[in-house]
């Protein structure tokens, strides 16, 4: 058995909430109006059954408000996706209790949920986590894995939590769950959908388990390389992207070549798949080796914040201060 932990917005669903109008539109959308990231429905359907025939578990932890549960459940049902659990953010409760920081914060919401959910999992079962680059999913999942492995202790959790301005009860929930967890490897892979166009180098310091991908085809290749999904699922993702979303062989070839060059999918496995799908892998380029080095979460979280701030500035375009400052 294997556990897959998914985020929804910008990972499974194409969601835009950069402006108040987009946020409002997202909140008002019905299940049938919600758009998938191309290929995610086929991938998620394929995750249920492992290549060896055993049944996997799929849990969703999303920053969407709890009030959207019925819409999101309906959307997953429409896509033919079966899940084992859905945890959404208590945003109304946060608002009514004046916990305004919690409205935007992801760390204080997701980390305790992941750790508490892990307490109910069978020991030794490995997990693959899915997120996006719009917030700090990669760091949260890496921290989750490090806590499970005993690399990050309660004292360090308190330091990280304080610097991220989590509420005391959130820090308490994290340390309590962490202390009860058996120590061991939990996170096998972290798949990050590059929705915000982050440079892939931003994720290198998080170690080789983190796989930033530009589309679901690449994600499916990474999971196929990890032997977590079958070849049929890769083909289903490919077909869905071609037939429903108009992906061309050129775009898919470029995606395949990119994931091979970045060392996320072995070239030997790519060649037969490329032949079957009529794609090209491209010339051989030695992939760079990546190491899992210890990270300082406080500075990493600050770095993520800084990057998002800069990106917002870039989106506003070149102003005089950028030209002349």
């Amino acid at each position: 058995m294997h556990i897959f932990r998914w985020d929804l917005d910008k990972t499974y669903l194409k969601t835009r909430f950069g402006t108040a109008a987009e946020l409002f539109r997202t909140a008002m959308q019905g299940a049938h109006e919600k758009e998938n990231i191309p290929g995610t429905a086929a991938l998620m359907r394929g995750l249920r059954r492992a290549p060896d025939g055993t049944e996997n578990r799929i849990f969703v932890v999303s920053g969407s408000p709890r009030e959207m549960r019925s819409v999101l459940t309906e959307k997953l049902r429409l896509d033919g996706v079966e899940i084992d659990g859905l945890v959404l953010k208590p945003n109304l409760q946060n608002l009514l209790t004046f916990r305004f920081r919690a409205l935007r914060d992801q760390l204080g919401f997701k980390l305790p949920v992941l750790l508490e959910a892990r307490l109910t999992a069978e020991p030794g079962v490995l997990e693959t986590c899915f997120g996006d680059d719009a917030e700090m999913d990669a760091v949260i999942y890496r921290l989750y894995g490090d806590i499970c492995e005993g690399v990050v202790d309660s004292k360090e959790i308190e330091r990280i939590g304080s610097s991220a301005r989590l509420y005391p009860d959130q820090i308490r929930r994290i340390t309590t769950a962490a202390e009860r967890l058996p120590v061991g490897t939990v996170v096998e892979r972290i798949c990050i959908h590059l929705d915000a166009g982050s440079p892939t180098a931003r994720f290198e310091s998080l170690g080789p388990k983190v796989a930033p991908t530009f589309n679901t085809f690449q994600t499916s290749l990474v999971l196929f390389g990890d032997e977590r999904i079958s070849r049929q699922t890769v083909l289903a993702v490919h077909d869905e992207m071609v037939e429903r979303y108009g992906y061309t062989p050129e775009r898919l070839s470029a995606s395949l070549a990119d994931v091979v060059r970045r060392g996320l999918f072995p070239r030997a496995a790519a060649m037969p798949l490329a032949d079957e799908l009529g794609l090209r892998v491209g010339p051989e380029v030695p992939a760079r080796a990546r190491e899992a080095l210890p990270i300082d979460y406080v500075s990493t979280l600050a770095e993520v914040d800084r990057w998002h701030h800069e990106r917002k500035g870039q989106r506003r375009g070149a102003g005089l201060s950028r030209l002349f400052g």
Binding site: F214, S255, V285, P286, L320, L323
Partner: protein
């Protein structure tokens, strides 16, 4: 869709500038058709740079090329039909040599001119804020035949790429008096005046280029390159003066702040078009040569220009037009 091969080894800031340009273009929201890129050069170095840039890997393919051979490899890819056009910031003589030896001249073209777009005031019938100058360095001493052919090619470029119905053409000179100038200019002027397929406005002075007197300005490569360098320098100087003013006095800063949109637009035009690349016209393939000092934004602009030229099927349109237009002698 257009596939553009971008030489990552050419230019003073290689491979950073070319890779950053590819990254910028790959993230373009598709306003027309999307652009696919083949970035050619030291693949490991390209990958290292790419990892540092926001980009869309679906639109970028990386092709390795041994050191010093990337332009030739890029030319081969275009010739083989793998790519529709090439963009390089390599030294112009080498890039020109590679293109001219691999691509064929269109019938009726004796010498392929390089052309460049420069900011100009709006003109009736045109929304383009640029004038097209050709030649800007490929042929130092053209004949009257060359100048007349280039006028026709510039006209087709303005029609197909800029969508100007009836572009005006001027012959760059030192004054409005058509009797002054070297013999080939006098001869070209006489024939351009007699050519009913062109909207010839006569000889024009350098000062007339930014004033938007004509959509297409024809001149020899030596003069063209001097003009291009001068106009680029003026743009830079104006921006530097504005930068100095912005940093010197609060009141001037406030004044510039009020003009922010216009200043930013001016910067875009100067940066992307003064250095945005010069299409090499008259060949059976599209090639855009950029200055070796090109910034990523300028190279990105050159790539978009190459894509527009290739979508406009420029070389075919030129071949047809030159074949059907009678030569006035």
């Amino acid at each position: 869709m257009a596939t553009i091969v971008l030489d990552a080894e050419g230019g003073l800031h290689a491979p950073t500038a070319a890779v950053a340009a590819a990254a910028i273009v790959s993230m373009d929201e598709a306003t027309e058709a999307p652009i696919d890129l083949i970035v050619i050069g030291d693949a490991a170095a390209i990958d290292r740079e790419l990892a540092r840039q926001s980009h869309n890997a679906e639109r970028i393919r990386v092709r390795p090329a041994a050191f010093g051979t990337s332009v030739e490899r890029a030319v081969e890819l275009v010739k083989a039909g793998v790519a529709d056009a090439l963009v390089t910031a390599a030294d112009a003589p080498g890039a020109l040599r590679s293109c001219l030896s691999a691509f064929a001249l269109i019938d009726g073209v004796r010498r392929a001119p390089l052309c460049a777009a420069y900011p100009a005031l709006p003109r009736p019938g045109s929304t383009e804020p640029f004038a097209l100058i050709l030649d800007v360095g490929a042929t130092l001493r053209p004949t009257a035949d060359d100048l007349v052919t280039w006028a026709r090619m510039g006209t087709i470029y303005a029609q197909r790429v800029w969508k100007i119905d009836a572009p005006t053409v001027g012959l760059l000179s030192i004054g409005k008096d058509p009797r002054v100038g070297p013999p080939e200019h006098l001869e070209a002027h006489r024939r351009l005046e007699a050519d009913s397929s062109l909207r010839y406005v006569g000889t024009v002075e350098g000062i007339a280029i930014p004033r938007g007197v004509a959509d297409v300005i024809v001149c020899d490569g030596f003069t063209g390159q001097v003009v291009v360098g001068l106009l680029g320098g003026v743009g830079d100087a104006l921006l530097n003066m504005a930068r100095g003013a912005y940093r010197t006095r609060t009141t001037w800063r406030v004044g510039l702040k009020l003009l922010e949109g216009a200043v930013v637009r001016f910067h875009e035009i100067v940066e992307q078009n003064a250095y945005g690349g010069a299409p090499l016209l008259g060949l059976d393939r599209v090639a855009v040569l950029a200055l070796p000092s090109s910034s990523p934004a300028a190279l990105a602009s050159a790539v978009r220009l190459a894509a527009r030229a290739s979508r406009a099927d420029l070389h075919r349109a030129m071949a047809e037009a030159l074949a059907t237009t009678s030569v006035v002698r």
